[in-house]
């Protein structure tokens, strides 16, 4: 309180005054010793970090070129690369993105994308993508749900895909589109010396396409209905997608197949969205005409950080796949959600096996570190009959 308090011991007497004069003298005194505001070292660092947008600049790079960390398939080892990205070129008409990534295990991936995302007031989009992959040690355990862990082999997968897509955004939450393109694929001996190369263990009968890899043309369509509240970290809503593709063997007419994929995601919030039950069901069915077969390297895989988290990546592979994921997510604080999860799924060769019997299961615990609207880092610990798996991934699982 602005009172002329108690007597101060040892203090020299001062003349009687007024409150206003007291305050004035106080201000006079400060006026003799003013100094500019200063930042502490930590504050200066954080201030510059924000003001200079160092993170954004790091991510955006130099003249559109910026570094990329990770982004290759799990098991490829530490990966890094560079991406060139420019938006609103051609008077705002199109965006351009080109990237190349390499990993310590010599995985490579290059991508080029030219997108026209803002046609007809952003209702129509057209996209052209070229992707080239060279993965020298992809795991293969054999086809079917009863493949054995001991049969682990590896092979080199090289492919190049040209794909064009035209789509329509009917509503903010509803998109449909068509795509078409060509796929050039090649396989070869794996480079992981710890495990045999695939062709040493499996034959073209048990691994169709092992000896000869045709070129494909690809036609397809898709529809997506997405009303999740925040796609980067959904707490309510759903995402339903259906996609159909036809892969036509252009070389020998032996490996043509059709693929039907559906995905169903639902998020049920409770306790003011601080708890979420997240459910995902995904199925992929491959259909071939008599005399045709889908090559093993293009068949669906199950296991790893995205679906069956108690198993190694690509642990199961076959023409068809079904997988269910259920997560109970709870917020620890704004920056961290945790999750208890259970996964179940299987691969199978015949449509008649499309049932809930024979599912492989895993369960575990996850940590999800959040930004404002998205999970940027995920640590999942999964357990299954084959042991414990630990995943450290950027981005959400679903």
């Amino acid at each position: 309180m602005m009172t002329a308090g108690a007597q101060t011991a040892g203090q020299e007497p001062a003349p009687a005054t007024t409150r206003a004069a007291l305050l004035e003298s106080l201000r006079e005194k400060k006026a003799q010793a003013i100094s500019p505001p200063r930042r502490t070292g930590a504050e200066r660092g954080l201030y510059e970090f924000r003001e200079r947008r160092l993170l954004e600049r790091f991510l955006a790079g130099w003249h559109g070129i910026h570094p990329k960390i990770g982004g290759l398939v799990t098991g490829s080892g530490f990966a890094a690369g560079a991406e060139f990205r420019r938006e609103r070129l051609g008077g705002g008409l199109f965006d351009l993105r080109a990237s190349t990534k390499f990993s310590l295990k010599r995985y490579q991936k290059q991508e080029l994308q030219i997108g026209f995302p803002r046609l007809l007031k952003e209702r129509v989009f057209v996209d052209f993508t070229f992707t080239r992959r060279n993965y020298p040690q992809e795991d293969f355990f054999g086809l079917g749900p009863r493949s054995r862990r001991e049969d682990r082999t590896n092979f080199r997968l090289e492919d190049a895909t040209f794909l064009g897509t035209v789509g329509a955004r009917w509503r903010r939450w509803f998109t449909t589109g068509l795509h078409g393109g060509v796929v050039y694929a090649n396989t070869g001996p794996g480079t992981d010396g710890l495990f045999p190369s695939t062709e040493r263990v499996f034959s073209p009968v048990s691994a169709p396409g092992l000896e000869q890899q045709p070129d494909f043309y690809r036609l397809g369509g898709f529809a997506r209905l997405d009303y999740r509240d925040e796609p980067g970290n959904p707490r309510s809503g759903g995402h339903y997608a259906a996609e159909w593709n036809y892969f036509g063997d252009r070389t020998w007419s032996l490996y043509s197949f059709r693929r039907y994929q559906t995905e169903f995601q639902q998020y049920i919030p409770f306790f003011n969205r601080r708890r979420v039950i997240a459910f995902r069901a995904r199925a992929s069915l491959t259909d071939t005409s008599p005399g045709q077969n889908a090559p093993f390297y293009m068949q669906e895989t199950l296991g790893g950080s995205e679906d069956l988290r108690g198993f190694r990546e690509f642990r199961f592979r076959d023409k068809n796949l079904m997988v269910y994921n259920l997560e109970y997510r709870w917020e620890v604080f704004s920056g961290l959600d945790m999750a208890l999860f259970g996964d179940a799924g299987k691969v199978f060769s015949r449509r008649s096996d499309f049932s809930l019997s024979g599912l492989e299961g895993s369960y575990g615990l996850g940590f999800r570190f959040n930004q404002a609207k998205a999970v940027f880092l995920r640590v999942d610990l999964g357990r299954s009959r084959e042991g414990m798996r630990f995943f450290f991934k950027f981005g959400h699982v679903f």
């Binding site: 009172t3 505001p37 947008r53 955006a60």
Partner: protein, 555 residues
């Protein structure tokens, strides 16, 4: 994160605290201190003396958050607010102007708030700067009069929410006494927007480039539209003067000689905790304040503002308010670890709160609101220091808003759904009563003292508002007060009076000019009730009779 340096800053703050106390304790002639000086109580703190221009100083938002969440900056010792006068009131200053709490504002003044006009002038709006980065897209425009406004929008799916919160917050906080910008609700068609020749926009990398029509469309794509193709926004008039950056809620600005009271010990900043609780202003952080260098009457000085009320009431600015807001700091270690360890089976009760679905007002409720437990985003040093007497001062002002006035202020935000508007008004009303009920009963709420016919008149505010029953009586004890030695001498035995007014003791009424008297006033309560708290009043015999010069309340 290391906050060792903060120790230095705190020390600096404490050294200023010491200076202030020293100055406050300056002894008068004779080598003794006086509790009351001749011009007490002062109604005005002249912190508008001419000063050299301080330097613009922006704060680091990250540092501000981390420092306040994980550190404890400022002086946290419990002590009476340093800028209050001897009556325990807040003098007018460059921080605060007593308005509704001192003199009831007519409704038209309340609803006008800080507005001096009617918003952007008719005609095209020239966009001079755009903002499409971050979470709150918007524009800065110049109207045909040359006035500049920041245009802020509602998030998609919550038309009217952030804009109405901004306007309601502005009106209430202005009526309370804070300096706030003029904020107007506007509706416009995109065709009204023109690009100034030198219009720029800041991209995600902080780089400025020429703005074009696509940029305008991209901003508009990210915000709520009315449905007929028009847009609703808040036009926030750019504050006059030179932007000096935000103020902190602790310490003082080292280059402003007028800024002598550590902010964590300023009454209006401590009391802001109670206003913020009432209005759920959880984003009451430094980043939402602004110091402006203004020139008035030939003097250049710093005026301190609160800005940006988009995250107030049920609005979280870019989305509906999170239920955590007001119930928990963003980071509370004990709670976080308990949630983690119990797999989320344990949690605070706020996660069970139900909110009616009103997209135009977001998430706010009054049923579970507990003013004393309310929390902003981080432990704001001034809020942490808020003592019962600070909150009592604020609660008096909160309670000064009648139901009719609350409705009138909310009406200015032009919420189109009457059910939503009614619900919001009811929430504000109930939260007002809860704030009043709690904080007006933490100290003795006898107030509005005046000497008139029959003696000393007063009101017991807690009784007036129905928060407490009228006591059987008030126990009064008179003293002679030695202002030089801060000593009291009993003049009479304690006497009990049923109610206001209380007769003036003859000795006090006939004292010599310059003599001081003190009166201890407390409620008489029934047996077994907790010990009642007292008010200590100080009177000075002036030429015209006894003058009330000081009030202290037991806590």
């Amino acid at each position: 994160m290391c906050f060792k340096k903060q120790g230095v800053r705190s020390q600096k703050s404490r050294s200023w605290l010491g200076s202030v106390l020293l100055a406050m304790a300056m002894a008068p002639a004779g080598g003794v201190a006086q509790k009351f000086l001749p011009d007490d109580p002062i109604p005005l703190d002249r912190d508008d003396r001419n000063i050299p221009a301080p330097r613009r100083h922006k704060l680091s938002d990250y540092y501000d958050f981390l420092q306040n969440s994980f550190g404890s900056p400022g002086d946290r010792r419990p002590r009476t607010a340093m800028n209050v006068n001897t009556l325990g009131e807040t003098p007018d200053s460059a921080w605060f102007t007593n308005r509704h709490g001192r003199r009831r504002l007519p409704i038209d003044e309340l609803v006008r708030g800080p507005d001096r006009g009617s918003g952007p002038a008719d005609g095209p709006w020239k966009i001079v700067k755009g903002k499409n980065e971050g979470v709150t897209p918007g524009f800065r425009i110049e109207d045909s009069r040359g006035d500049r406004y920041a245009i802020k929008f509602d998030p998609r799916g919550n038309l009217e929410m952030a804009t109405s919160a901004d306007v309601i917050g502005t009106k209430f906080l202005h009526a309370i006494g804070y300096n706030v910008p003029e904020n107007y609700i506007v509706y416009f068609w995109p065709g009204r927007l023109e690009l100034a020749d030198d219009a720029t926009i800041t991209d995600t990398l902080g780089r400025e480039r020429r703005m074009d029509r696509i940029d305008i469309q991209q901003v508009l794509n990210r915000v709520a539209s009315v449905g007929d193709g028009s847009y609703r926004a808040v036009a926030s008039k750019i504050l006059p003067g030179e932007d000096l950056g935000p103020f902190r809620y602790y310490g003082t600005r080292p280059d402003d000689p007028n800024d002598v009271f550590p902010h964590e010990h300023r009454r209006e900043l401590r009391g802001l905790r109670a206003f913020s609780a009432w209005l759920n202003h959880d984003d009451s952080r430094s980043i939402n304040t602004l110091d402006m260098l203004v020139t008035e009457g030939g003097r250049q000085f710093v005026r301190h503002h609160l800005i940006d009320f988009g995250s107030i009431l049920g609005s979280g600015s870019v989305s509906e308010q999170k239920p955590r807001a007001g119930n928990e700091y963003v980071w509370e270690a004990g709670i976080a670890f308990t949630r983690l360890a119990t797999f989320g089976l344990w949690d605070r009760s706020w996660i069970l709160m139900n909110y009616p679905r009103h997209p135009s007002i977001g998430k706010i409720e009054a049923e579970r609101f507990r003013p004393e437990l309310w929390k902003p985003e981080y432990p704001n040093p001034a809020f942490v220091n808020c003592l019962p007497e600070d909150a009592y001062w604020a609660a008096k002002i909160v309670m000064a808003f009648s139901d009719e006035e609350i409705r009138a202020v909310v009406n200015t935000s032009r919420i189109s759904d009457p059910r939503a508007e009614d619900y919001l008004i009811e929430c504000i009303r109930q939260r007002r009563d809860k704030a009043g009920r709690y904080w007006l009963t933490q100290v003795i709420s006898a107030d509005n003292f005046r000497i008139g016919a029959g003696g000393l008149h007063f009101e017991d505010l807690a009784v007036r508002y129905g928060f407490l029953k009228a006591p059987p009586g008030y126990v009064v004890t008179w003293y002679r007060y030695d202002n030089a030695r801060d000593r009291k001498v009993l003049l009479d035995r304690p006497r009990e009076y049923a109610a206001s007014p209380i007769p003036i003791l003859a000795e006090a009424g006939q004292g010599r000019p310059g003599e001081y008297f003190s009166l201890r006033l407390q409620r008489r309560v029934e047996e077994n009730a907790k010990i009642p708290k007292a008010a200590h009043l100080y009177f000075r015999r002036g030429a015209g009779g006894l003058e009330l010069v000081g009030i202290e309340r037991d806590e």
